[in-house]
Amino acid sequence: MNLRTLRTGTRAPVHFVHQRTVRRFSVLATVLAILVTRAAAQSPELRWGGDAEGGAPYVEADPNDTTRVVGFEVEIAQLLAAGLGRVPRFSQAGFTTLDGSVTRGDFDIAMSGIEDSPARRSRLAVTLPYYQFREVLTVREADAARFRSLADLHGRRVATLGATLAYELLAKAQADNGLVPITYEDDVHPYSDLALGRVDAVLLDDVLAERRVRQNPGLVNQSSEVGVGYYVGILAPGNAALRDRMNEILLQAMRDGRLEAIFRRWNMWNDDQQRLYARLTGGQPAADERSESSAASPGPWESVRRYLPALLRAALITLGLSCLAMALAIALGAVIASGRVYGRGPVRMVLTAWVEIVRGTPLLLQLFVIYYGLATVVQLPAFLAAFIGLGLNYAAYESEIYRGALEAVPSGQLDAARTLGFSERQTLLLIRAPQAFRLALPPMTNDFVALLKDSSLVSVITVVELTKQTSILAANIGSWVVPGAVCAALYLMLSLPIAHAARRLEQGWSKKPA
């Protein structure tokens, strides 16, 4: 319970009492539910899926018992299960995989702040909306006067979650007034990066925006209307009958105030919901005005065609980033390898330790540390952080290849060079390194192709490269088949010429030198 709820509405004190009573009941109900689950294992389950990484207030691990989940959607699942005479059982699944998992039958229904969209309606059985959200533009306090709407953000970086209505709105605004959408994988870092000045605005659901603004004092939400969407549950397309029974339960809960109680408990109740429930219980459609997402859903090929420029741009980013990172990896790898072959004891020890640390920890973690971890000290732009992260990581692997290759050059070659009077440095540059390079080329080619694919990890630090752009497209059209094929084709178009060039170079060496 917080002050905001107490201040809103004249009936607040009543709500207060009401809410506490309901909360006690809910705790009791949860305890009962657990007891029932344990006692009566034979009672049928309602398997439901969500992403606990999405966090409060949707679904999150209970801070007091991390094996349990809490959140408004947990309570809606309990409500649905109770209405069906079943016991709810939660399954964790990544947010972007929920559509696929529910279609495969991993669980009966998914609820995790899933947005209603024509694409989802065409592929899945979608429940009635149980919550209406607004897209809210959040800016830094100092910018409150100049960034009032998307139209004010020409050329500015605006953060959001990928594969959401907010992203669709930003992509449209990108075409209309040239703002730059930046996608994140979670809903915490858009706001922390906004506070740091890495982005100029965030567009996300009011549910998230209000919570984050409370946690970041320097941020404010703008009141301008940007868009409206609905949270729904999704079921496999063959589960329409179950969906219809759930809709009955939801409508009943809208009428008797049980849904309202849930949302009041999570401080999410507002007039929008009252009007939404009035329309739905009155037999009207959810959308009261022109809906943002009412346009007919285009076919997959049409979507690919529309997204193709973005995919090609993303492929260029993948290629550019990979080439730059590989150049850094080669240069740094050569230095590390030389140090390990020619250096004194302490130098060798430090370099060996460095290589083992970099090789032995996940690239994903390294990217997080460089981009978010160092943000309080130095705020690297995302692309630069990605370049440094990938380059440093691959330098460790390259250095091992070069060290092995340098040591594989026969000692007779070095003896011959010495007796001719070459200095150690000349011997390295003129004889040892060129021969080592020939030995290192096949594994280097291998690494470059691996780097090309590993570069997809940089999407966690907001660089939209090929894989990320593909997943955005896939979420948009609700299928991975066509986008996946296009993405694979683009990756092959990038890697095959490189492999081919390397083979040609190798063949050239075995015949005549350049």
Partner: protein, 222 residues
């Protein structure tokens, strides 16, 4: 004055003494054959003279360059030494990534700082003299044993060392080629180069009519 003087040479490999108290000398333009069974220390003596392995005792004097155990081979001394002594290895060790011609002109350009064109012309002359002028563009792995042998000699001669060391030069040659090599060496000696050849090929030693040193178990016995 002797072109090379080796006095009381000791060489260790780890704790083991592999050459003990070896002494010999050679005049300018002389061919000295160092003969002995495998493992008698011939190659080791050549490597120590060439500055590739450290000296444990005794001394080596080549012209104005003097090496002994008390003065480890530093950068400047090593450079001087390598201007005085060349070496042709048993397995040639031609630079695997370079053509025959490139192998020969590389050191004159980078070590002696000769102009590239002059060095290349000189390299062609040397390869022609040694009878491999037609193989200038071949890579080492494309050369026969005899051809590689002669390219390796050309490479060593290109930097003009007064003393040339050769390790088992006939190992990869058929009898005909052995005769040719012997006459090549006699020519070189005639031009003033001192040759020290480790070998156990009696026919070859006779063909080049050289002075023989015998080595046994790390000692020069005659």
């Amino acid at each position: 004055m002797n072109a090379i003087d080796v006095a009381g040479l000791h060489v260790r490999r780890g704790a083991r003494s592999v050459v003990h108290d070896a002494s010999f000398s050679a005049d300018r333009g002389e061919i000295v054959a160092m003969m002995g069974a495998s493992g008698s220390g011939k190659t080791t003596v050549l490597r120590v003279i060439a500055g590739l392995d450290p000296i444990a005792g005794g001394s080596i004097a080549i012209g104005d360059v003097h090496v002994d155990a008390s003065r480890p081979l530093g950068g400047e001394m090593r450079r001087l030494l390598h201007r005085r002594v060349g070496m042709v290895f048993q397995f040639h060790h031609l630079f695997a990534h370079l053509t025959a011609l490139h192998n020969v002109w590389l050191a004159p350009v980078h070590v002696l700082h000769h102009a590239r064109e002059a060095a290349e012309t000189r390299a062609r002359e040397l390869l022609n003299q040694l009878g491999v002028g037609h193989r200038v563009d071949a890579l080492p792995h494309e050369l026969s044993g005899g051809e590689a042998q002669r390219v390796a000699i050309a490479r060593a001669l290109a930097v003009g060392p007064p003393v040339l060391l050769m390790d088992e030069p006939t190992a990869s040659l058929d009898p005909e080629r052995r005769g040719e090599l012997a006459s090549t060496l006699r020519q070189l000696a005639g031009g003033g180069t001192t040759l020290i050849v480790a070998t156990h090929d009696q026919d070859f030693v006779e063909a080049c009519s050289c002075r023989v040193l015998r080595m046994e178990a790390g000692r020069v016995v005659s």
